[in-house]
């Protein structure tokens, strides 16, 4: 909401400066977004007289002036067509910052002639739009005066209006609030009702008084819509960005912003028959003044004549029966509509208008006759015309809202004592009618306030006016000492992040949305959670996995020239649309080489075992059963079928890991291998809450362990995990560790076979092993592995 200071002063008698007004507005809850005040930028600009006027020796349109700024005479080169000898204008000396260019003026040299300053146009000073010539002041203007003193300047303030303060969508509401805050006096409105003996040729009938409690119509005959809108009105409208159009349109716009009172003007000659306010019929058509056709439903309110809906009540006028420059007879509508009907229709058909904006918030239910009178007054002043008798359907019998406030609640709710008298004074200034009832203050709302429903609303009014800064700040008394600030699930998500980062991965945060076209391959449930109104087609689905967005990140980083990547994200993945159908997933990708080239160390491409290591590390950081998880080879189809795995606990999936399927990479236009993992954090069981924090007793053997190696030849299909398990199983008491130290496939082995070599740790318990005992242990391993996997010793 914008308004100019002169407009404000139409309603408010005040001597306050623009800065004081702006500060007060913010303090009472009408937050100032911007102050457009050209005066603040006019320091150094002064009035000056053109005392010399010579043709520039090297130009046919430039002049060389001698300018007297009251202190000295300066040579100035000027190209303005309206510059003449003896005129007084506004002079910018060297060093002044020209508002239009936001640059300090320097000594110039124009076609060889030096210039020590500039005569300015309105536009250059930011005080108007005229740039056709320089400002011409009356010839008798004193010279050397600050420009701010002689220019007519009307600063503009823009404030944001919260939805509860609809009355401040009119300048008068803002003026009233400022007056209540002590910044001046609210002036009375000067609007009178014109009586007439002429019977309106157009009658009004309202079918639905719930949707339209009051409808006031006024017929005016013989208006001249080609008349000029007065300058003061045009200036105010222009100042807030509204283009003056014609007197009839300008008047409705003006009253809309002056009193927050929407109006509509019909060309009476275009209306057929009387006005009927009714709900639309299902499927009824309406063409708006913007030329758009709508097919309405039976919950939309129409203002109709015999030919159908001519105005979508309270939202927008129609194309057919509005005013034009040729309009001579008009019917002025000033009505009240139900906010919910307006909001629903506006939302359903997505029509935004100043009128809808006001009606769906609050329009003073007792301003229908007043608004109509004001419109009639302004229209006849500007356009002439003969006024007919007012047509009114329904009654302005609105019952104002009543609320109560207990003065002691200021202390117990806000923390500061405010006297009963002060509360009453504040409420009265805001237009409430107060009385005392059983120690409470009864406050009857002014009709322009629709937001006062209870005590908390009145408290808010008092707080606004005494100022939030008067409330003391009290440190919150320490509450119950929390057992743990983060839940165990939150805490381990944090640990997983730190673990993955300490493994060299960069944490990223990507959208919870993704592109349904690429996401389809990642869905594991049949519910694609698509947005009804995505912001772009590429962000139209709640992601079923964190991987698609990470793959986009891989692609983008490669495009920037960074192709060795390790990225992870901990965030939601959605498997359904119902609230809560989401997992918290730690997902990561690695691609390219483990590092840049180096003179030392093992630089190699990332492979599936890096992803597996990340997954296991994340599970371990989450205190999950990383050692006991089963590994199966049934990862989803977006992974490489032969280089991926699933880590599970029973039927619960803890994690997937593997290379991303090349066909998926192709969809993302990625040309290098990517390995990835997804750990479903909420599938990792939380440790049982145990009160015994003591560790299990450490059992140390007095005898040295013995390491022995065995190499097996097995079918290629045999998994390493089977051999390890069988080996451990050979003697669980004495075999404490089994490690794979070599895997070989190729020549020297029969077709379809591979060799797996393991290293075993035998731990004696009672006495050092004898050679015979070791032989026997190794034999048992050989037999057990052979039995389980068909392996033979190599």
């Amino acid at each position: 909401m914008k308004f100019s200071i002169s407009w404000l002063k139409e309603h408010l008698d005040t001597n306050a400066t623009v800065d004081e007004i702006a500060e007060t507005l913010t303090r009472i809850g009408l937050e100032v977004e911007e102050v457009f005040n050209p005066i603040s930028k006019l320091d150094g600009f002064v009035t000056a007289k053109v005392e010399g006027f010579e043709i520039h020796p090297d130009s046919d349109h430039l002049h060389v002036l001698t300018v007297n700024d009251g202190k000295q005479k300066l040579q100035v080169v000027c190209g303005a067509p309206n510059c003449r000898l003896g005129m007084v204008g506004v002079f910018a000396p060297v060093g002044a910052v020209i508002p239009l260019y936001n640059e300090a003026l320097k000594v110039g040299k124009i076609r060889g002639v030096e210039s020590f300053g500039m005569m300015c146009s309105e536009k250059e000073l930011g005080v108007g739009d005229d740039h056709s010539g320089i400002i011409v002041l009356p010839d008798d203007t004193e010279i050397g005066l600050p420009a701010a003193k002689v220019l007519t300047i009307d600063p503009v303030i823009e404030i944001s209006i919260t939805p509860n303060r609809a009355e401040c969508l009119g300048v008068r509401g803002i003026a009233r609030d400022l007056a209540a805050a002590g910044l001046g006096k609210l002036k009375p409105l000067n609007i009178s009702h014109k009586n007439s003996n002429l019977k309106s040729p157009i009658k009004v009938k309202v079918e639905d008084y719930k949707a339209c409690p009051v409808y006031v119509g006024r017929y005016i005959k013989g208006v001249n819509n080609k008349a000029e809108t007065p300058k003061w009105m045009k200036d105010r409208l222009a100042a807030i960005g509204l283009r003056p159009i014609s007197p009839l349109v300008d008047v409705t716009n003006y009253i809309n912003y002056d009193l927050a009172r929407p109006l509509h003007v019909f060309d009476a000659d275009k209306l057929k028959g009387d006005i009927c306010v009714r709900m639309a019929k299902e499927g009824e058509k309406f063409v708006s003044l913007e030329g758009k056709e709508y097919t309405l439903d039976n919950q939309s309110l129409g203002i109709c004549d015999d030919e159908g809906i001519q105005c979508l009540g309270g939202i927008m006028g129609g194309a057919e029966k509005g005013c034009s420059p040729e309009t001579v007879n008009v019917f002025v509508e000033c009505a009240l509509f139900d906010p919910i009907v307006i909001a629903r229709t506006g939302r359903k058909f997505q029509i935004d208008s100043d009128s809808r904006y006001r009606y769906e918030r609050w329009v003073d239910p007792k301003s229908n006759v007043l608004g109509s009178d004001y419109a009639v007054q302004l229209i006849t002043e500007i356009c002439g015309g003969e006024v007919y008798e007012m047509e009114i359907a329904g009654e302005e019998n609105y019952q104002p809202k009543v609320a109560y406030i207990r003065p002691e609640r200021m202390k117990s709710f806000i923390g500061i004592d405010v006297s009963k008298e002060k509360i009453v004074e504040i409420l009265n200034h805001l237009g409430f009618i107060t009385s005392e009832e059983n120690g409470k203050i009864k406050a009857v709302s002014p009709t322009w306030r629709g937001d006062i429903d209870g005590e908390q609303d009145l408290i808010e009014e008092v707080v606004r006016m005494i100022g939030l800064d008067t409330i003391p700040a009290e440190t919150l008394p320490h509450g119950k000492f929390p057992k743990q600030v983060l839940t165990p699930a939150q805490h381990r998500a944090m640990l997983v992040k730190h673990e993955l980062a300490s493994r060299g991965m960069l944490e990223t945060v990507t959208w919870s949305f993704t592109d349904s076209k690429t996401a389809a391959a990642f869905r594991q449930s049949d519910d694609a959670v698509l947005l009804y109104n995505p912001i772009t087609a590429e962000l139209d689905e709640m992601r079923p996995s964190v991987l698609p967005n990470l793959l986009i990140a891989v692609k983008n980083n490669i495009a920037r020239g960074y192709s060795d990547l390790a990225l992870f994200e901990v965030g939601p993945a959605f498997y359904g649309r119902n609230p809560g159908e989401q997992n918290t997933v730690a997902g990561g990708v690695r691609s390219g080489m483990t590092s840049a080239k180096s003179w030392i160390g093992d630089v190699r491409p990332y492979d599936v075992f890096d992803a597996k290591a990340d997954a296991l590390a994340a599970i371990a950081a989450a205190n999950g059963p990383w050692e006991n998880a089963q590994i199966t080879t049934d990862a989803p189809a977006y992974y490489h079928p032969g280089r991926s795995g699933t880590l599970r606990l029973g039927k619960n999936v803890l994690a997937y890991f593997g290379e991303i399927h090349p066909q998926i990479l192709k969809k993302f236009d990625i040309k290098q291998r990517v390995v990835a993992f997804e750990v479903v954090l909420n599938n990792i069981p939380l440790p049982r809450e145990s009160h015994d924090k003591a560790r299990k007793k450490l059992e140390l053997s007095a005898f040295q362990p013995v390491d022995k190696d065995l190499a097996f030849v097995v079918d290629k299909s045999v998994q390493a995990v089977q051999i390890i398990a069988a080996a451990k199983n050979a003697d669980r008491a004495h075999i404490t560790d089994v490690r794979v130290f070599d895997v070989y496939e190729g020549p020297n082995l029969p077709e379809g076979k591979k060799s797996i070599a393991i290293s075993l740790t035998f731990q004696p318990k009672e006495a050092t092993f004898t050679d015979v005992e070791i032989e026997s242990l190794m034999k048992r391993v050989e037999v057990e592995v052979g039995k389980k996997t068909g392996a033979i010793l190599r």
């Binding site: 939805p163 709710f413 983060l486 901990v570």
Partner: protein, 367 residues
């Protein structure tokens, strides 16, 4: 016996002249080996009469011990020399770079989350959570925003159709704020309540200062005697702790949120120049959060009697806090996964935030 003294100095000179371990060993053999000079002398004793033999034997044995000691000492010296020579030959250029090790980073959003949790944890808050996809009851209605409430339009909402209903009012929303967690918390537990709820939030808005997804942290305090003065104290303590300043100018402006009343926005003092934003000094104000006393309708929707309990709520933008504290200029870059940005603005994995260890810069230098 003079020649014994001569022999001694001759032998010691011989030992001193040995220059490496090989020569030393030859020398040892030549002196005290089976056919060594001293051994020969000892053998020669047998020809002497008994008395002389004893006398000469003693002296020779003393000489032998001295020679042995001299040999041992010489060996030590030679060994050190030899080792030094070997070590010098093993010299490497220690200015060469180390083996490459990747160091990861924690995203600023996670970092701020941890800082905020550390501060409010100290004030007795617990952390609550809620789903990203919400029903309209929790996101709007229970927060005093019935259908057609104009405030709903302030929040450009993403909708998800409900498969079980064609009614638009039954469709789900991607939560527009973390405030629904207020309702879920009240449904789940009785007062006193003191929670914060950080999380992802979503609005259909995408320009220089808005992204369709962003992060908020919600706060809710409900008890019998909580007043707006506590709200101010709590938030003042928070901003001081967060920006790690002893004092910070703050200002509250009346505002409007359907779920709080009175409502306010909090500004902090700062200095804005073309190139810099300095928090805690200067004449400009910067909006930092929205807050207010919980509206009685919200308490009722959460099943709490507003005549018995009251309290306050607030909401802060996590991304915005990160931008202000760590001087990150553009919100959109938070979600672009540019590895150069992640390395530059990210935090080392050791950088755990706490009120005991400090909120920031306590994780060692970034490598």
């Amino acid at each position: 016996m003079e020649n014994l003294e001569n022999l001694k100095s001759e032998l010691l000179a011989e030992i001193a002249g040995v220059s490496d371990l090989k020569a030393w060993d030859e020398c040892r053999v030549a002196l005290i080996g089976k056919k060594g000079k001293i051994t020969e002398q000892l053998k020669g004793l047998s020809a002497l009469p008994l008395e002389q033999k004893i006398e000469a034997g003693k002296k020779l044995n003393v000489l032998k011990s001295e020679i042995e000691a001299a040999l041992a000492a010489r060996k030590d010296v030679l060994e050190v020399e030899e080792l030094n020579k070997k070590l010098m030959s093993e010299t490497v250029d220690v200015t060469l770079p180390i083996r490459p090790e990747a160091q990861g980073r924690i995203h600023p959003v996670s970092k701020i989350y941890e800082e905020v949790v550390a501060i409010f944890g100290e004030m007795g808050f617990e952390v609550a959570e809620g789903p990203d996809i919400e029903d309209q009851f929790h996101n709007f209605n229970a927060l005093n925003m019935p259908a057609n409430h104009p405030a709903r339009q302030m929040q450009d909402t993403f909708y998800i159709p409900n498969k079980n209903s064609d009614d638009f009012d039954d469709s789900y929303v991607v939560r527009t704020h973390t405030s629904p967690v207020q309702i879920r918390t009240m449904e789940a537990k009785r007062p006193p309540i003191r929670i914060i709820a950080p999380g992802r939030t979503y609005r259909s808005d995408y320009d220089a200062t808005h992204t369709p997804m962003f992060h908020q942290v919600e706060g809710l305090v409900i008890d019998k005697n909580i007043t707006m003065a506590h709200l101010k104290g709590c938030l003042y303590d928070f901003v001081k702790a967060f920006f790690e300043l002893d004092e910070i100018p703050v200002r509250y402006r009346p505002s409007y949120f359907p779920f709080t009343e009175p409502s306010a926005e909090m500004d902090i003092g700062c200095l804005k120049t073309k190139t810099e934003l300095k928090i805690g000094a200067g004449t400009d104000w910067l909006e930092i959060l929205g807050c207010g006393m919980v509206h009685p309708s919200v308490l009722k929707a959460g099943g709490i009697d507003p005549d018995e309990y009251q309290g306050f709520a607030f909401g802060v933008g996590i991304d915005r806090l990160a931008m202000l504290k760590y001087g990150i200029p553009d919100l959109r870059t938070f979600f672009e996964s540019d590895v150069r940005w992640l390395k530059h603005y990210g935090f080392t994995p050791l950088d755990f935030s706490s009120m005991t260890g400090g909120l920031s810069n306590n994780g060692g230098s970034a490598r």
